[in-house]
């Protein structure tokens, strides 16, 4: 099956996660994912397999990731380890992935999150293509939520 999800759904999901977890609003941004790739970022990804095959990824600039993690842990950013920050962004992707999985009628499994941080890296998912991608901003700092569908696994 294909996942019936429009960009507005993703914006709503990202906004709900942000307001619940971060406690603040995130608004749609005119920035693109290419803009994000120009700086150091944290990317967290979860995979969905079963009736639908694909992945859900969240990309945050490292500075924003640290800011969000500080809110989640209720600690100053300088008291957080890199593991704390990666854990926090991984959980955001996990929540997004779990909610996307909930939109799939067939039975599926959700993986644990995989998280990477760095500059100028490529997130490769062979056989997949980005089918939905939205960029929102928190206090003017953009972050992205994307759906990658395994085209070669379409039934």
């Amino acid at each position: 099956m294909s996942l019936q999800l429009v960009d507005d759904d993703l914006v709503g999901l990202a906004g709900a996660i942000w307001s619940s977890i971060v406690g603040q609003e995130a608004e749609p941004s005119p920035a693109s994912t290419a803009d994000l790739a120009e700086e150091r970022t944290v990317t967290a990804c979860v995979h969905i397999s079963g009736g639908w095959h694909g992945s859900v990824s969240m990309v945050l600039p490292s500075g924003l990731a640290e800011q969000v993690a500080a809110v989640m842990y209720d600690l100053p950013p300088d008291e957080l380890s890199q593991d704390d920050v990666l854990d926090a962004v991984g959980e955001l992707a996990n929540i997004a992935g779990g909610n996307v999985k909930g939109l799939i009628e067939e039975s599926c499994e959700l993986s644990l999150p995989v998280v990477a941080e760095g500059t100028s890296y490529v997130l490769a998912m062979p056989g997949s293509q980005v089918t939905s991608s939205v960029v929102l901003a928190h206090e003017g700092r953009p972050f992205a939520l994307q759906i990658h569908e395994r085209i070669d696994a379409r039934g």
Partner: protein, 121 residues
């Protein structure tokens, strides 16, 4: 009341505990575990009065934890706090004896409502 919060994300455990306190459950003692197997150990050693558990975790998932408790005859009140809330999972959770399945992202009111509905105060 001693409440065990089980989630493989340390950040999420902190958010669950903070949200519980914001929802008015601030007079309780919170203990933590980062997977189902660790939670089982805590339950056997510390006998919490309520277990809040994520579903998808390494080592032992939340539903495997609940089923292990059932097998051992341990009837501690148990609820899921998870990003995955498909009808299939909700059915499996209730069949296993879970009191509720609360979806992430959640609000303070969600916690107040679901815990109030099962008599936790």
């Amino acid at each position: 009341m001693k409440i065990l919060v089980t989630d493989d994300s340390k950040a999420m455990r902190m958010i669950v505990i903070r949200t519980m306190r914001q929802a008015g459950f601030d007079g309780h003692e919170f203990v933590e575990a980062d997977n189902g197997a660790a939670a089982l150990t805590v339950i056997l050693e510390d006998a919490p009065d309520l277990v809040l558990s994520d579903w998808n975790m390494p080592e032992m998932t939340g539903i495997e934890l609940k089923e292990a408790l059932n097998t051992a005859g341990i009837t501690v009140p148990f609820g899921f706090v998870t990003s995955e809330t498909t009808p299939e999972m909700r059915e499996r959770a209730i069949e296993a004896g879970a009191l509720f399945l609360l979806a992430k992202p959640f609000t303070v009111d969600d916690f107040r409502e679901v815990l109030g509905s099962v008599g936790v105060g």
